[in-house]
Symmetry: C2
Subunit: 196 residues, 2 copies
DNA sequence: CGCAGGAGAGAACGCTCGTTCTCACCTTGC
DNA sequence: GCAAGGTGAGAACGAGCGTTCTCTCCTGCG
């Protein structure tokens, strides 16, 4: 049984590339077999079913995505810069040549209606991102409300960049984020009243 | 040949409900047959293939969605109110019991990687929404830049509401939109400088 | 009244998918 | 050296898909 962990990683790597670029249902286990170099038998002793492979793919993707984001944000020092860094990182992500949106939004759209596990995984991922961004925002002394608004800008940029094929939404979202941060800055806070 | 148009509408109505709630690939032509009450033979003489049915479904959905939005917006008078009305309408949409996000984002995630036609249809729909919102924004005397930012808020609200299952993102997006409109109002315009 | 033609219901076909099985082969411990 | 068990390659299987075909029935017109 040579290196179960390495084989799993190889399978998940191949599955990620295929699932992300073509969608999940359009990719058969034969394609994963060919791309990973593993035999079907080995694949099925590493993952009991395709659904298990899909869930582990989402799990791995969640870990890697959040880690890459946090790594970039950590390279910035002030809290305000760290919030803006999120949108800068989005821009580099959108610029990847085979960028095709958020794997969790895509999976939710494709399977969320028929697979509660996939829907739950998407929910967890988005919740984790929201918690992370809200923490960055509250570290600047601003309210969580702003964090939720910035989440919407980021999510909107993710799907708009995917469909238009341009990284520009990241810049637009960053500019809007700057304006909202200004609106919520200590100096302006007393004057802000957006209630009807 | 009794009423080809009515039969098409019946088929498209059934297809819409199934495709939207369960995804496209998960719905077979048999399911469309059962839901529409049409025979398979009739279905195939109305639409030459499943792909044609899918594209017409997206076409119809685009028309109906934009018409419903425009109808709600038109019931408001001032340009500023009309912009905000977009987010109010989103809230009522998100509150529908079987809301499951934007059919075009979902279709793009599921089939955009393997069907250029589906990807193009999603692009067209989002472009039309963007043009509409930008027109509403410029009618208030504010720049198109703001329109693009509000598009991101709306798109983010659409997916966040779908995944979390709550209509609350519409309210958060509306509040953020109000703040951005304030930031871009004539009074503040000279002082806004968000460049790095 | 008879018959041609189209419609409905669903069986059938070819294909692909997820999953399992076969079988020859290779390793490995005694 | 050899039995035993695990492996790889791919065939096989059952189910489900999109699509087409069959067959029966109904309809409407001469």
């Amino acid at each position: 049984m040579p290196d179960r962990e390495a084989a799993q990683d190889q399978a998940l790597g191949a599955a990620e590339e295929l699932f992300y670029s073509r969608g999940i249902q359009a990719v058969g286990m034969d394609a994963v077999r060919n791309a990973s170099g593993l035999s079907l038998k080995r694949l099925y002793q590493l993952f009991p079913s395709k659904e298990a492979l899909v869930l582990q793919f989402l799990n791995r993707r969640d870990r890697q995505w959040r880690q890459a984001l946090a790594h970039y944000v950590d390279s910035h020092t002030t809290p305000d810069e760290q919030v803006i860094a999120v949108f800068e990182w989005l821009h580099t992500w959108f610029s990847e040549p085979d960028y095709r949106g958020c794997a969790f939004i895509n999976s939710f759209g494709e399977l969320g209606g028929i697979s509660p596990e996939v829907a739950a995984q998407a929910r967890r991922h988005k919740q984790a991102f929201r918690d992370y961004l809200v923490a960055l925002v509250t570290a600047t002394g601003r309210p969580a409300t702003l964090g939720d608004q910035l989440v919407l800008l980021a999510e909107g940029a993710i799907t708009t960049a995917a469909i238009t094929g341009s990284p520009q939404p990241a810049t637009q979202a960053r500019d809007a984020a700057r304006l909202l941060m200004l609106a919520y800055s200590r100096h302006n806070r007393a004057h802000s009243d957006v209630s009807q």
